[in-house]
């Protein structure tokens, strides 16, 4: 009896103890697994508060008599539009698309008028003094010089945004007008538009309407933004999850919602305040991730940071523009161009050296929604340092700031060494002072600064500049978004953002050494102690 009882007890013991110890672990494993299922494994569910507008147009423009007349010029079309939409032109003419500038308050408190019309960048540098070329993207007709009448509604170009046929096109170097006769420019031929056909088919702007200008800023496809290129006309999921033709197939205005011609969203190369912005949160509401740790990251990290891991996924974007190397001629004394293997221009006599890149990994900065720009006439404090043409404000300690991805366009451009100002050069024109023709910086600087009403000392040099382009497009499918380890490691993508502690990337050197010493010391103590014990034990036995 007793024997049996003891044996039963032994067996019970053998079964119970592993169960006691393992069961809680098994439970933890189960819980952990289910949490992991819900938090790590990507599921094909999209939490979005968005519905595409599929209702048909409320009117049929082809039935309107006023659009059946014969149009000789685009301005007549505008008159026809305004004859019915008789207040819309006022909305358009109040928008930055028309004015190309707006009132903005600078950090010091100065209020200035600033915008595309007087901005300096480190691409083609400025619209001032080169207007007739740049204004081919203005939503108006005939802005070729200072005398353009901003108050004449007939100058408004309705069709560039509302043409749905694709038949309407402004010509390059045409101050915003379409061609009147058939014209070939570089490798493309432009035809006079059929205004009646176009006017009968007006509608909501499509990707093509916006892209026509916004994808080609800087004089070519994807030159400026890096995340806005002609690739978005027909994007697949890898290019942009939102504009994926096989998926949600959204167009620009689905996000950039517009109330009375005021379009949400803006770019911090030409604006500096934190309003009228587009945010992901408009549609992606609530806790967007299943993993709460990741949700907490949204306090400090913008959505774009993880979800736009690379930009310029198709067409190359310009990364560097060095004006200082311009002016070379070939052995015939003629201007020349050089190309890379992808037919991107890498050198042009009248422009300098370019560098291009595709599938670029963004750089990252803190940003709180406010910015400042170099306004023509600003004195450069340190001409030996890199000049930030636009500065994005933000820091780790600022509660409003988040880390955002940016394209930084680096350049070298002309400045006045005496007056310590960036020079507005006259680049384009038919006259010899235009740099692209005469390639004389002194003449170009003189003419350009005169146009701008700024002094020029006659002495110039080149200064390194940077422009910050926040990235908001070319959102990647969720599998391609950044992983924890991309930032939380010694080779962090954020290694340039210092001044705060990030797990996995940072450690305190003193604490690391102390810790290693503690562990090594303990091990050492154990080894020494046990060696003495063993030796002494032998001694005692002997």
């Amino acid at each position: 009896m007793q024997e049996n009882k003891n044996r039963a007890y032994q067996i019970k013991k053998i079964i119970i103890y592993p169960v006691i110890i393992l069961l809680p672990w098994y439970l933890i494993f189960l819980i952990g697994n289910s949490i992991e299922e819900s938090q790590i494994i990507i599921k094909d569910s999209v939490i979005v508060n968005y519905k595409i507008d599929t209702l048909p147009s409320v009117v049929d423009h082809s039935k309107f008599e006023v659009l059946k007349q014969k149009f000789d010029s685009p301005k007549q079309v505008t008159e026809a539009c305004v004859s019915c939409h008789n207040k819309r032109h006022k909305e358009v003419m109040a928008s930055a698309h028309w004015t190309w500038d707006r009132e903005s308050v600078r950090p010091g408190g100065d209020t200035v008028r600033y915008g595309k019309t007087n901005a300096i960048n480190n691409f083609c540098i400025t619209a001032t003094s080169n207007r007739w070329k740049c204004t081919s993207c203005h939503i108006g007709y005939g802005w070729k010089d200072k005398d353009f009448d901003f108050s004449d509604y007939k100058n408004v170009d309705c069709l560039v945004c509302h043409d749905t046929t694709g038949a309407y096109e402004k010509q390059p170097l045409g101050s915003g007008f379409p061609v009147e006769e058939k014209r070939a420019f570089t490798d493309k031929t432009y035809f006079p538009p059929n205004y009646n056909y176009i006017a009968k088919n007006v509608g909501k702007p499509k990707i093509e309407n916006c892209g026509k200008c916004h994808f080609f800023g800087g004089g070519g496809d994807n030159v400026k933004h890096g995340d806005l290129s002609s690739d978005l006309y027909h994007a697949d999921k890898d290019m942009d999850v939102h504009m994926d033709e096989g998926g949600t197939n959204m167009s620009c205005v689905d996000c950039h919602q517009t109330e009375r011609h005021n379009i949400t969203g803006k770019l911090y190369s030409v604006s500096n305040d934190n309003n009228n912005r587009m945010t992901c949160k408009k549609c992606h509401t609530g806790d967007v991730h299943k993993n709460n740790t990741i949700n907490r990251h949204t306090n400090k990290i913008a959505c774009q940071t993880c979800h736009i891991p690379v930009y310029a996924k198709g067409t190359a974007t310009k990364m560097i523009w060095d004006w200082s190397t311009s002016g070379k001629v070939d052995k015939n004394g003629k201007q020349f161009k050089e190309y890379d293997s992808l037919h991107n221009v890498t050198y042009k006599s009248g422009k300098g050296t370019f560098e291009w890149a595709t599938n670029v990994e963004p750089e990252y900065v803190w940003f709180n929604g406010t910015a400042d720009q170099y306004v023509p006439g600003d004195i450069i404090k340190d001409t030996s340092a890199v000049l930030k043409i636009n500065t994005l404000f933000g820091s780790y300690g600022d509660h409003e700031s988040k880390i955002i991805p940016v394209k930084i366009h680096r350049g070298k451009q002309i400045f006045d060494t005496q007056n310590k100002m960036l020079i507005i050069p006259h680049i384009y024109g038919h006259d010899s002072t235009a740099y692209s023709k005469g390639m004389d910086w002194n003449l170009a600087a003189k003419a350009g600064m005169k146009d701008a009403g700024l002094p020029y000392s006659g002495e110039y040099s080149f200064i390194s500049t940077e422009m910050y382009w926040p990235l908001n497009h070319m959102t990647a499918p969720v599998e391609q978004s950044l992983k924890c380890i991309d930032c939380h490691s010694k080779e962090s993508k954020l290694k340039n953002l210092t001044g705060f502690y990030m797990p996995g990337r940072d450690s305190n050197v003193f604490m690391e050494i102390l810790g290693i010493l503690m562990i090594v010391g303990t091990f050492g103590g154990i080894i020494v102690h046990s060696v003495i014990r063993i030796l002494k034990a032998k001694h005692i036995i002997n």
């Binding site: 007793q2 009882k5 003891n6 007890y9 013991k13 103890y17 006691i20 110890i21 809680p24 672990w25 933890i28 819980i31 952990g32 949490i35 992991e36 938090q39 790590i40 993993n291 740790t293 907490r296 306090n299 400090k300 300690g397 992983k483 924890c484 380890i485 939380h488 490691s489 010694k490 705060f500 502690y501 990030m502 797990p503 996995g504 990337r505 940072d506 450690s507 305190n508 604490m511 102390l514 810790g515 503690m518 562990i519 303990t522 091990f523 154990i526 102690h529 046990s530 003495i532 014990r533 002494k536 034990a537 005692i540």
Partner: protein, 459 residues
């Protein structure tokens, strides 16, 4: 049952007695191993989060680290509750006694093969260094890690009222804590090898049983404490001046005392009449000289004014061999006394005869009435004689049957029998008989007898 047998079996009759005792309770072991595994797991995932290596993948490491942290927190809450509910916290009360000896042992004695300066007993599982270390572990490292860990998780939670600007201090403290844990773990494992039998000590943490030294004094103290608390005997302890230091619940009840504060610090004479108080003082002073009293019969004065009867013991209390007071137990005999007295008188004065037989049927006790009924003069003639003496031959058979029945536990309430008196006359009796018990065993029979001879005639 099994557990008890185990203890019994192992006790060895040695001077340095050991016994195999169940020293690690089920929850304790579960807590120990779960905590160990959780901490090791937290260290592994934690250092991956720290960027020291890649193992599970960063996101998994963070997720598992968080889950394990919550699990550990739950475990800690249970453990804290357990420690207080069971009184196991007492094992961790630090003592500086023998700390030096223990350190000396580790840095010198162990090499010379010296004996451990402290013994592991059921009530003192840890040596003084262990007490200090484990206490430090519980009140310093664990809270450090829990607090810094939760700040780490929630330092920038938007709804968080304490929005901390910088993570670095929190992270550095948390890292420091994890280094401490590693050092603790290494030292803990190494010091296991300094135990007399490392393997047994390790296995003991699995099944709970370990050979521990028996410290008779400690055993006595621990058992006694329990016994005193639960006893129905009153316990009291006085200091050198005869003032109450401590009494147990039973004491309070005996003296009808409702508030402990009414008695602690009072002089012991409060429970006595003036006359008795002198006697008590005498007793106390003699005990303080080293004498022990047992079984003293005294009158008490209760708090409600009633008088009671007590039997008390009194012995000196020692601290480091010096008498520091007296203590003793009190048994209330008031009711017992009265009952016995009544019984005595009722039996003695009764007209009914009383008898008691032993298991063999011999007379052990009879009263005067019995003697009178049987016309005997001397008790001694009867005591020690068999009951057959008082029966007719015809009646003897019946008497034998009755006796056998009684010895089997039956009770006879009234039976008419014929007796044979000493003077050879016979008479009719009604008798009762019931078994006499001792430790649940029938050791004899007793009963009363009423003479109905005259009654019959009257009828």
């Amino acid at each position: 049952m099994i557990k008890l047998q185990k203890i019994d079996k192992i006790i060895r009759p040695e001077n340095n007695q050991t016994k195999r005792a169940y020293i690690y309770k089920g929850f304790e072991r579960f807590w120990h191993w779960s905590q160990a595994l959780l901490i090791i797991f937290l260290v592994i995932t934690g250092f991956e989060v720290h960027g020291s290596y890649e193992l599970l993948g960063y996101q998994r490491a963070v997720l598992y680290h968080d889950i394990a942290a919550w699990a550990l927190l739950v475990l800690i809450i249970f453990a804290v509750f357990w420690h207080f509910a069971t009184g196991a916290w007492k094992q961790y009360v630090p003592t500086m006694k023998l700390v030096k000896a223990q350190i000396n042992y580790y840095i010198l004695g162990i090499f010379k093969g010296a004996a451990h300066p402290t013994k592991k007993t059921s009530y003192n599982k840890f040596n003084p260094l262990q007490r200090l270390t484990y206490l430090g572990f519980k009140v310093f490292i664990i809270p450090l890690q829990v607090i810094s860990g939760f700040l780490y998780m929630y330092y920038m939670y938007p709804e968080n009222p304490i929005h901390i600007e910088r993570l670095d201090i929190i992270a550095i403290i948390h890292t420091f804590g994890s280094f401490l844990l590693i050092v603790f773990l290494l030292a803990h494992l190494y010091l296991l090898t300094t135990s007399e039998s490392p393997k047994e000590s390790f296995v003991a943490m699995l099944h709970g049983w370990e050979e521990v030294t028996v410290d008779p004094e400690e055993e006595h103290r621990e058992h006694l404490q329990y016994a005193v608390d639960k006893s129905i005997a009153g316990y009291y302890r006085l200091d050198l001046d005869g003032l109450f230091i401590s009494v147990n619940d039973a004491w309070m009840e005996l003296y009808k005392c409702k508030e402990r504060n009414n008695i602690i610090g009072m002089h012991c004479s409060i429970t006595r009449n003036d006359k008795n108080a002198k006697r008590l003082n005498g007793m106390v002073s003699s005990v303080l000289k080293g004498k022990s009293l047992r079984g003293v019969y005294v009158d008490r004065k209760c708090f409600d004014g009633t008088i009671g009867k007590h039997i008390l013991s009194m012995n000196p209390t020692f601290e480091d061999d010096i008498i520091v007071g007296v203590e003793g137990f009190i048994i209330d005999v008031t009711d017992i006394h009265r009952l016995q007295e009544q019984m005595y008188h009722s039996v003695r004065n009764s007209e009914a005869g009383y008898y008691r037989l032993n298991s063999k049927g011999y007379y052990e006790e009879i009263n005067d009435a019995w003697l009178k009924m049987y016309k005997c003069v001397d008790k001694d003639n009867i005591i020690g004689k068999h009951y057959s003496l008082s029966r007719t031959i015809k009646d003897l058979k019946q008497a034998n049957e009755i006796f056998e029945k009684i010895m089997k536990g039956e009770t006879i309430s009234s039976m008419i029998v014929t007796r044979k008196c000493k003077d050879n006359t016979t008479a009719q009796h009604i008798l009762s008989a019931n078994p006499v018990y001792e430790n649940n065993k029938v050791i004899g029979a007793e009963g009363f007898i009423i003479d109905i001879s005259g009654l019959e005639k009257d009828i």
